[in-house]
Amino acid sequence: MAFVPMSVPVPDEAPVSLWRDAWSRLLRNRLAVAGLVMVLVLVFAAAFGPMLTPYDFLSQNLEARNLAPSLSHWFGTDDLGRDVFSRVLYGTRTALIVAVVVTAIAVAIGVALGAVAGFFGGLVDRTIMWFTDMTMSVPNLLLVVVINASLKTPLSQWMEARYLVTLNPFYRETIWVDFLLVFGSMALISWPPYARLVRAQVLTIRSRPYVTAARALGLTNRIILIRYVVPNALGPLIVAVSAGLGSAMVLESAFSFLGVGVNPPTPSWGNMISDGLRVWQHYPHLLAAPAAVLGLATVAFSFLGDGLNDALNPRGSK
């Protein structure tokens, strides 16, 4: 009796890429969806929020100072009579812009250094990793504060001088100095974890049989890096970025709190919290509103990060 190989029975379904698979896994995770929705709301609020509120976040109304929350002022008003809800909404924009830009810079630096270190190894690797460890060893709040404190004045003076020479109104906007310093110094302390992660990823992926197989096919290093290493290292990076966005928001508010972040009158959750703390006992809403929103944002990103982690690295599936 002969056993003839038969055609292989395969169910006819549309092919599912790992990305789409992960996406559907993410949507089944309730906490992750909650996080995703909250993040989307934050993004929406940052993009359109300030247009939707009847009050300007800057316009003061000394008649209506320190009002308790009401229908006309959802979160009440502050000591200059500014609408807190509008300010919190605008703070969302500040927080998100800072978080996105800082994370983007940090990821760019981290990915470049980590990939180079992991791919070339040897002395290059050791030098980059030494530099990474060194950066990590400086207490980061201290570093940011020092950078801000020492560079803010000279930078503003330089801008002022440029203005006097060029009369370009661009140089009058001190907000650029703020953002430049905040972005720069925060990115400086945020990149090392990304570099370490990417390096570790590159090291593991490099030793996978499919990369050896690609080498055996004669493919060039460039193709291997682009088509084999990068797409497979992306998953953990996405998880790290999601978590990183959350911590960048917290960091921004911490710096604003210490007075080295975004300066008033630009609303930021950090400086609102800092202001609110001074009058907490009398006007609790001034503290509660920004603190609660910051907490929500952090929780949202951490839910999303956890969900992404589960979706992109499903345990037990091969």
């Binding site: 009796m1 002969a2 056993f3 003839v4 190989p5 038969m6 055609s7 292989v8 029975p9 169910p11 089944r28």
Partner: protein, 332 residues
């Protein structure tokens, strides 16, 4: 007739999936007699390990027993209280797992790991248990046993580690030793050492052994009786000689035919079974083997065949195939 030690009837196991529970083991019947060695043979994913793990409720997360009974010495293992279950685990039933590298705790000394069953089942003091552990290591043929007690697992070779696993399984002189592919992770020469060791220990201690494997050749010289599993059901259950001489199920025949033979002509194509086993949750209705079976008829796709004694053979040889008789006569 020999005395029953373990009697598993209609055992089903399910796995939780996104689209609801999926059956992995679909109504398995098997038994082990006192002093007997039963070989359980099947390909990966056929449920052979899960069946045995379920007896001691060691199933991984999301996998659970959906029904059936498993009587061991007259008591249903699946209904034991936690306390009773603990007494059976390692006390009356010993377990040896596949990968000795991961199955021993890497941060505990060998002696401490061997002592555990003695401490918890025999109420031995730590010192007595340690001493007895040394004797156990000698029993499984580890040279320098007393010093070895102080070693960590990673300091031993794969073969030595598997001997330690066996010693732990035997520590309380259980009535039944379940060995789950204990030699798969080992080299051939080491595999031969372990097989010999178990054969000898079985003779000396008079226990029953269930040996789970995917290797028909390995089990040929080891088992008294063999159960062949396919996609979560027993397709054939026969004394070892009968199974190899007159296999009753087309799957068993296919498996035997796909093993390369000494006498086979050079470069000849092997007989092979086409296709792949069904995934859990995608079991075909009727006989699970029907889609790959060269003999399959309409009836096979409709009705799942029951495990029945082969015509013209002893009651001990049972096959789950609508055409078991026809196969036999063809072979004759």
């Amino acid at each position: 007739m020999s005395e029953r030690l373990l009697d598993v009837t209609d055992l089903s196991i399910e796995i939780e999936t996104r689209s609801g529970p999926a059956t992995i083991v679909a109504g398995i019947d098997l038994h082990v007699d006192k002093g007997e060695t039963l070989g359980i043979v099947g390909e990966s994913g056929c449920g052979k390990s899960l069946t045995m793990l379920s007896l001691l409720r060691l199933l991984p997360n999301k996998i659970r027993v959906a029904g059936g009974r498993a009587e061991f010495q007259g008591r249903d293992l699946l209904k034991l209280s936690r306390r009773e279950l603990r007494q059976v685990r390692g006390g009356r039933i010993g377990f040896v797992f596949q990968d000795p590298m991961t199955s021993l705790n890497p941060v505990m000394k060998i002696g401490a790991q061997l002592s555990e069953p003695l401490i918890y089942h025999r109420d031995m003091s730590r010192a007595d248990a340690w001493k007895r552990s040394g004797e156990l290591l000698r029993l499984v043929g580890i040279p320098g046993a007393e010093e070895r007690l102080h070693s960590y697992p990673h300091e031993l070779s794969g073969g030595m580690r598997q001997r330690v696993m066996i010693a732990a399984g035997l520590a309380c002189e259980p009535e039944l030793l379940i060995a789950d592919e204990p030699t798969t992770a080992l080299d051939v020469t080491i595999q031969a050492q372990i097989v010999d060791l178990v054969k000898e220990l079985r003779k000396r201690l008079g226990m029953s052994v269930v040996w789970i494997t995917h290797d028909l050749a390995l089990i040929a010289g080891l088992a008294d009786r063999i159960c062949v599993l396919y996609a979560g059901t027993v397709v054939e259950d026969a004394p070892v000689d009968q199974l190899f001489a007159t296999p009753g199920h087309p799957y068993t025949r296919g498996l035997l035919a796909s093993i390369p033979r000494v006498s086979g002509s050079t470069m000849a194509r092997l007989s092979s079974i086409g296709g792949t086993p069904p995934e859990p949750g995608r079991r075909p209705s009727g006989c699970a083997f029907a889609p790959r079976c060269p003999l399959a008829q309409e009836v096979c796709r409709q009705n799942a065949p029951a495990l029945q004694p082969m015509q013209g053979s002893s009651n001990a040889h049972r096959v789950a195939c609508h055409f078991a008789g026809r196969l036999m006569s063809e072979a004759a």
